[in-house]
Amino acid sequence: MTEVLWYSGRGSGVVTLVLLSVVVALGIGARSGRTAIGLPRFAVSLLHRNAALLAVVFVVGHVLALYFDPYAQLRYYDLVFPFAGDYRPLWQGLGTLGLDLLAAIVVTSLLRHRIGVRAWRVVHWLAYLCWPLALLHGLGTGSDRGAWWLWAVSSACAAAVVAAVAWRLTPRFHGFPRRAVRRVRPVLKGAR
């Protein structure tokens, strides 16, 4: 039984990394305001959201499998408090931290109509921290550390995310018509 849990834990972990990489790429795609291979903008936005929710499903499976697997030696608070674990505490801690950030991002996104755009956006930027944590966690912890296929998958994910981020930083990233930036005039801001 523990073997099943161990394999499920590793497998779901890898799937989560792949999904999170897709989520980041889609998030950047959504930000661009461009349609993607025939998909209208709202579809890109929905795909980003659905991939994220799917990633949540897999990360929960990953965490639960490992929690019930005695080999991982997880106590309940290790699931949210990073770096307190017994098995490879640093690498595992990165994963826990990543999970915390993911939870914050997902919850604020589901509640964004209640908390407002600013609060939502500030937390959402943590995605750029969350993804590297997931990547490093996958590379450092787990019994597949060093395995060629894990390196291959991780490299592919990293390549996708780096490419997306690089695209994000190009000047003509936005697919919107040329228009003026909306910025409140300084004289109106300093009203005291």
Binding site: R178, R179, A180, V181, R182, R183, V184, R185, V187, L188, K189, G190, A191, R192
Partner: protein, 423 residues
């Protein structure tokens, strides 16, 4: 002079008296402010038919009632932020009759059950106001807030934002400020001139107020007359006053006039007809209204089209910068109007995003399609913004195309009627 003509004549009511701004002169002339309860103040405002003098002309009693009915402690704000460059009446009133304004503010506070009162206006007037406030014994203490020197800073929701400690920019109108404004409290924002009129109505009564103006538009209003007149300044008259009398009170026209701008930069151009009554009814056929009482006389040698293009450029630059259609549409509208005028000088018109450099220069010559493009852009920006800045600009531009139709035709043909008239 018949009764009707006298009612609509140039006369001094708000501007009457000493005008030194002192409390003792004010009390000597006007006496103490009568003690009225909330219902009495609202009834007075309603029966007198007092409408806002800040430009919108909304019935004051409705605003008072809306804020009073909210049932929570309210906030009242006297708005002296005169963002309109061609208007000087609020500054004049702050200087000449601050006590009437402050009396009106106390009455408004009484009517709405307000516990907090503010005055929002130019910082230059604050030293004198602070002295005055120290000497008065107002029931509700008044706090002063400096207004930035910008066109939109006097907009109602911008006033609320500024008094709340944020930037003086208009806000989305989903929730009316009469329901929730400063600190979530029901808020009344009223132009200082309106408050001054209220202070006089409280002393002299409804009949006295209605003896001026017309039955549908009672009372007097302050007009800032400028442009081609001998003695530009602030004039008071009853609604329905003939345009010629307003100009005469400002020293008379300095030469033949081509047209008059009424209602300010968000107003409209009307023909220079001295008999034209300055009232809602009288100006409506020209798509104009008295607004905040701005009257600018355009002499025959000045091109109305070019002047409108200049104003449109100014208004484009005065956008708060929040709303896409305004930030993009107004500069484009101003530039198209300038192209229509054939004006090579676009200094001051903000660079609109769109045409790259060379194409912009080539498009500069006046073409018939430009009239349709101006109309298209006008229809595109109107109604799409958090405030009425785009709508006011569109109103001015549309009235210019109407009033200066002949000038438009001349410019399309490559010449200018105004320039020719100068020779």
């Amino acid at each position: 002079m018949t009764g009707v003509a006298a009612a609509a004549a140039v006369q001094r009511r708000v501007l009457a008296g000493n005008r030194d701004g002192r409390l003792d002169s004010h009390l000597a002339r006007h006496g103490r402010l009568p003690a009225l309860d909330a219902g009495e103040v609202i009834d007075l405002a309603r029966d007198a038919g007092l409408t806002g003098r800040g430009g919108a002309g909304f019935p004051m009693w409705r605003k008072l009632a809306a804020v009073a009915e909210a049932g929570r402690p309210a906030v009242v704000i006297a708005n002296a932020a005169e963002g309109e460059p061609a208007s000087g009446k609020d500054k004049a009133l702050l200087s000449y009759q601050p006590n009437l304004i402050l009396d009106g503010l106390q009455l408004a506070a009484r009517a709405t059950g307000a516990r907090a009162a503010h005055l929002y206006g130019p910082a230059a007037s604050f030293a004198a106001l602070r002295c005055l406030l120290a000497g008065r014994r107002d029931a509700v203490p008044v706090r002063l807030h400096a207004a930035p020197d910008a066109f939109v800073s006097g907009e109602e929701s911008a006033v609320v934002a500024a008094v709340s400690g944020r930037g003086a920019v208009p806000a989305d109108k989903l929730i009316r400020i009469t329901r929730a404004g400063v600190g979530g409290a029901p808020t009344l924002v009223q132009n200082v001139e309106t408050l001054a009129h209220l202070a006089l109505i409280a002393r002299h009564g409804v009949g006295w107020f209605r003896a001026a103006g017309s039955p549908d538009e009672p009372g007097t209003f302050l007009a800032t007359v400028s442009g081609a007149v001998a003695a530009p300044g602030v004039v008071e008259a009853g609604y329905g006053v003939p345009l010629g009398e307003l100009l005469a009170a400002a020293g008379g026209p300095a030469g033949e006039l081509a047209a008059i701008l009424v209602g300010g930069y968000h107003g409209g151009w009307v023909p220079a007809d001295p008999a034209l009554p300055v009232s809602r009814a009288g100006l409506a056929p020209f798509g104009a209204s008295p607004g905040a009482g701005v009257v600018v006389a355009l002499p025959v040698g000045s091109c109305g089209l070019a002047e409108t293009a200049r104003i449109a450029g100014y208004l484009a630059g005065e956008s708060a910068g929040q709303c896409g259609p305004c930030v993009n549409g107004l500069p484009r509208l101003a530039e198209t109007l300038a192209d229509l005028t054939g004006a090579p000088d676009l200094r001051g018109v903000p660079e609109p995003a769109g045409l790259p450099g060379m194409a912009r220069v080539a498009a500069r010559r006046s073409r018939p399609e430009l009239v349709a493009e101006v109309e298209r852009l006008a229809g595109l920006v109107a109604g799409r913004g958090a405030c009425r800045h785009p709508d006011g600009t569109v109103r001015l531009v549309r009235s210019a195309l109407r009033t200066f139709e002949a000038e438009v035709a001349a410019h399309l043909a490559g010449h200018c009627l105004a320039t020719e008239a100068r020779r």
